[in-house]
Amino acid sequence: MRELQEGADRRLRAWRGRAAGGAALAAQPWHAARERLRAAEERTRLPIANVLVLVVALSLPFWPVIDSRWLRILVLVGIFVVLGLGLNIVVGYAGLLDLGFVAFFATGAYTYAILSSPASPALQADLNWWLAIPVVLAVGSVVGVLLGLPVLPLRGDYLAIVTLGFGEIVRILLLNVVGLTNGAQGLFNIPRPEFAGWVLEALDHWYWVLVLASFILAFAVGRMRASRMGRAWEAIREDEDVAAGMGVNTVKYKLLAFAMGAAIGAFGGLVFAGFFTFVNPSSFTLLVSINVLSIVVIGGMGSTPGVVLGALILIGLPEVLQFDETSRLLSLFNPIVPFADTSLWGRQLASARFIVFGLMLVAVMALRPQGIFAAARPQVRLPRASGR
């Protein structure tokens, strides 16, 4: 293997040596500047940075300011990070605007709930949460493919509105197929994750599990994106017809995008069911889809750090705004702001969050379509061994 690579490097160096154009370019000062910039870019992608983020994230529960309220919020943020990573594949990479993502979230939550809740009217199997992970991933991806098949020929806005309908149909089914879902009452007493006597219950444990799960998912998604599959997705997003003409089986890769997004969304649902131990149809409305879409779009379509940042801002911030400390902090502005009780601002803003999200979507599209975090581009570069 190593020999092969070295051979490849040697040939490339030899070929590079012949390429006079490249040498001439490298001699120019602007080119050198660009090289430096590129080196900086690459440094930020080093594993060190990721490890640092992981360590900081894992250590959060030990920080003195982080109490149970914070942890609860962080768990919620974590669930939405998972959902965002899933939708990001569909919308950000493959460019398929899915407005019914809640369908997959519900699939995961209900799959586990039906198979484990004592209230489940059918198929109750006392399934262990950890064993449910592969089950939910499989069911999720199958549902993703099934919902993806009919919309394969559709593009852009048509796809959006049909998936919107799918999300709504799933909610109606949850309400009405009472023999399976227990209807509006929902399923309760869903067992918490348990492994060899250790029950996942404490908030900090949940938080750690979610951080690790998010990292594993982010790694997997990053690998997918950097592979030929990820390039196929991006090519489909850029120009589906041309991608097909270059040998990309567009049907296969669109279905794969739906399946991967759905599997990750379903995993989010599994976490949701295990954490809250209760599901009913009112948790699976269009608002979930809108929330996740806003996270992906505002964070930056196609960007993993964007998803995390988006979830922190859109899910975490409105909760933090409702803290008493926030009110006290905001009340400091009272002397300089006439005719208003500034201590209420945080709560008011939080309760108006969907108005703000909506306006943010409009503003982001008009002012910064790439979102807060532009997706890290480009992905593929020539091997550094080329000696440039």
Partner: protein, 318 residues
């Protein structure tokens, strides 16, 4: 070049006696409009073959039909003796037909080398193992195609699973083929003259460079037949001449057979060995440049109106 990007020389030996591309009474109707009317076309291996005709003659439609973007109303298409009509677009690409577009169509938000790598897609290993056979949902109606593909669904799912597993685990074979593909694409970029631009976004390239990138991407699929739709459109004489040189090198050095649509007469007459003339979807003439220039029907349909414009351009001979 140290390693030839394509192995078409092998393919040539197998196919010298044959015709690279053959269409038999190829017909394409769009709701009353006959875009192609029983066209018989033969492109010999190793040829640079020109396709000319007035606007709306059906040239681009022919390309679209050959590459599977439209399904022909009737007639057959063969590549090296193998029927390719009815195949899906990516299957036709894998069979060895590649193309460029009249209005350049690049993956604008991807960088230069990634654009070429997409063309290399099917040359990168899925995972450590290869599966025999391929899913082939194919029907007049896409929705029905999905239904007919049902029996092969388990295999397709297994394929998908392997693709995902291979992408995440990146076994040596995947890495190795990916690396080879990158290297190959770098060489193709050198071949078309885009050295040093590998990491730029395709959208940021100049017009001429975008045309070159499109050529490199088309070549990345290792085509036996390359369809070029007006490769020199919108170029000044110098740029146009260098593209013509490139087209010759694609045939001479890579051994790829070229079928090209051109409006600039000087280009067509200078580079093509054989020319086919279409008018209102019909083939009205075929022959060497000299024969075409002397053909009365062609002059009437085409040269009579635009020869003056074409003649005004610099001769592209290298």
């Amino acid at each position: 070049m140290a390693t030839s990007p394509a192995e078409p020389t092998l393919r040539d030996e197998a196919a010298t006696a044959m015709t690279r591309l053959r269409t038999r009474s190829l017909t394409m109707r769009f709701e009353g409009l006959v875009a192609l009317d029983a066209v018989d076309l033969e492109v010999r291996p190793g040829a640079i073959h020109g396709l000319i005709g007035p606007n709306g003659a059906g040239k681009t439609t022919l390309f679209n039909v050959v590459t599977g973007y439209h399904r022909p109303t009737s007639g057959t298409i063969e590549l090296d003796g193998r029927r390719i009509d009815g195949l899906l677009r990516h299957e036709i690409a894998e069979a060895g037909v590649s193309r460029t577009f009249q209005n350049i169509r690049l993956f604008g938000a991807m960088n230069v080398i990634e654009n070429v790598l997409v063309g290399r897609h099917s040359k990168i290993a899925v995972a450590g193992v290869e599966l025999a056979g391929r899913m082939r949902p194919h029907s007049d109606h896409r929705a029905l195609a999905a239904v007919r593909a049902l029996p092969s669904a388990p295999r397709a799912m297994l394929h998908g699973l392997l693709e995902v597993a291979g992408a995440i685990a990146q076994p040596p074979r995947v890495r190795q083929t990916e690396r080879a593909a990158i290297e190959h694409c770098a060489e193709l970029l050198q071949f078309v003259g885009l050295v040093g631009r590998e990491h730029e976004l395709a959208n940021n390239l100049s017009y001429g460079d975008q045309r070159r990138l499109e050529l490199a991407r088309a070549l990345a699929t290792d085509p036996a037949l390359l369809l070029l739709d007006e490769p020199t459109a919108g170029m000044n004489p110098a740029e146009s001449a260098s593209v013509v040189r490139l087209v010759r090198r694609i045939r001479d050095e890579l051994g790829v057979t070229v079928l090209l649509i051109e409006h600039a007469m000087s280009v067509v007459m200078g580079v093509c060995e054989r020319i086919t003339v279409l008018d209102y979807g019909r083939k009205i003439a075929e022959g060497t440049p000299a024969e075409i220039q002397g053909n009365a029907a062609v002059i009437e349909a085409y040269l009579g109106t635009s020869a003056a414009q074409g003649g005004g351009r610099a001769a592209p001979r290298a």
